[in-house]
Amino acid sequence: MADKTTQIVIAGFGGQGIVLTGNIIARACVMEDKHVAGMISYGVEMRGGTANATVVISDSEIASPFVSKPDVAIILNQPSLDKFESQIAKNGIVILNSSMITRDVEREDLDVVHVEAAEIARWLGNARVANVVALGAFIAKTGILKTRSIDKAIEQLFAKKKAALITINKKALVEGIKAVTKSN
């Protein structure tokens, strides 16, 4: 995926750490000297059950920061799958939090990765790190960002107020990566 622009959407319920996931990716990009632009969806959609953040990553300057056809979708709940399935780019990648999504992906061109993110998070001891498990699956699958950059981004973002959460988030990342490498 080098030397090109990648559009990413992260979608789920409000409270699943959607914006935080976007922020971690953005920070990791800065560390790897990639160009990045992020946006959160706000407005009526937020009240309709899903929240989403979009991120554009590129090796060159980013023109449009809008994501219209995401190359990668990190989908954390069922309504988000319903909403985004049709928008994902042809042959795009979907990371599914399958602990919370019961139906199958209908499109046949998509490359789907099932991760029991919520289940793994609970097993780790904090249901709220499901987003980072999914993030781990994302980097393992796409190779867009290095584990070390994500680790660092987590350290920076949690350093101020929630330093206690750094360890469990790093563990969640590792488990997410493992989940993908295992299934391959």
Binding site: A37, M39, I40, Y42, I62, A63, S64, P65, S68
Partner: protein
């Protein structure tokens, strides 16, 4: 933007909550006390801009921010600040209108921004950044322009620019203009003659006429000094898109794809929308076959493009109103349609 203002020496901020710009007053309420500045949450947009009027009269670098409906309310104070020839910075993160509209991005306040906005014959310097690094830089420069010309400066952004995230290097402020000594400020007349900041000029009967002539001279000077513009792939372009702010960014995306398809398309992006970069526009008009104007409104910015090129080339239009933004695909489709 808030940190850029602080770095540029902004030490007074007054604002009123309105989406999508609440992050600015929230940041300022934390940051101002740290740098010995003053933050006031005003009871209304009218009060907020009046506080800016007062703050500027003391010679303090000051700023307010709002979004479309709030900016309409501020027009009273902006007219007074312009009349008093006081510097300040006003940010408008435009949202959909008219009325309460919606809270999506828009560029529908263009006329209001570039024609003065309130009552009377005056202009604001209007800066239209397209990226967050540019917003950071222009916010710092805005304070210099405001002080140098003694004029209110507006930063014309939109709901997307206000809500998006992008890495910005927080470089320290470097003045770009030498600011004349502020000999108008009100700090008590100890040891000097009393000063008055007037906004009413009844006597002699031609005082207001003279004041207006002087303001027009200032506007002419700014128009000669300050036409900022970005040309992108215009040298060999047959079709040039004219767009500003966020729209221009999306247009760039479309241009990159069009170029891959062999279409010679470029972009001219005014960074100052007042003064409008007439010269650069005219220069492009000499070589290009036609223009395509794209804006998040239904035909405001296009007027200035047509005036700038004196209708010397055909101008096609793609406008989107109601707080919806253009897409790379939509612009590309339009390019292909008109390129023939």
């Amino acid at each position: 933007m808030s940190e850029a203002a602080i770095q540029a020496g902004c030490r007074f901020f007054a604002g009123y909550p309105i989406t999508p710009q609440n992050e600015v007053p929230e940041y300022m309420s934390r940051r101002m006390p740290e740098v010995g500045g003053v933050f006031v949450q005003a009871e209304s947009e009218l009060a907020a801009i009046s506080m800016i009027f007062g703050a500027s009269a003391t010679g303090t670098r000051c700023m307010t921010s709002s979004s479309s409906p709030g900016i309409s309310l501020k027009q009273e104070g902006i007219s007074y600040i312009a009349a008093g020839e006081l510097p300040c910075v006003i940010a408008n993160m435009q949202r959909g209108g008219p009325g309460l509209g919606n809270i999506r991005a828009s560029q529908a306040d263009y006329y209001q921004a570039v024609k003065g906005g309130g009552h009377g014959d005056y202009r604001l310097i209007v800066l239209a950044p397209a990226t967050l690094p540019e917003l950071y830089k222009l916010t710092q420069n805005a304070f210099d322009y405001a002080d140098y010309y003694r004029i209110p400066v507006m930063i014309l952004g939109d709901g997307i620019l206000a809500q998006m995230a992008e890495p910005v290097e927080l470089t320290p402020y470097k003045p770009i203009l030498k600011i004349p000594k502020k000999d108008y400020i009100l700090d008590g007349c100890q040891g000097r003659e009393p000063r008055v900041i007037k906004t009413l000029m009844l006597n002699p009967t031609d005082a207001l006429v003279t004041h207006n002539i002087n303001m027009q001279k200032k506007h002419e000077k700014i128009t000669a000094d300050l036409q900022l513009v970005e040309n992108y792939m215009t040298e060999d372009a047959e079709v040039v898109i004219a767009a500003y702010g966020m729209t221009a960014r999306v247009a760039k995306g479309a241009i990159q794809i069009a170029r891959d398809k062999g279409l010679k398309v470029g972009l001219i992006r005014p960074i100052t929308v007042w003064p409008f970069p007439d010269k650069a526009m005219m220069e492009v008009a000499k070589t290009v076959r036609k223009f395509l104007v794209v804006e998040m409104s239904n035909g405001q910015f296009i007027d200035d493009v047509k005036l700038a090129i004196q209708c010397s080339k055909p101008v096609e239009f793609q406008g989107i109103g109601g707080g919806w933004y253009p897409s790379v695909e939509g612009i590309l489709e339009k390019i292909e349609e008109i390129y023939k």
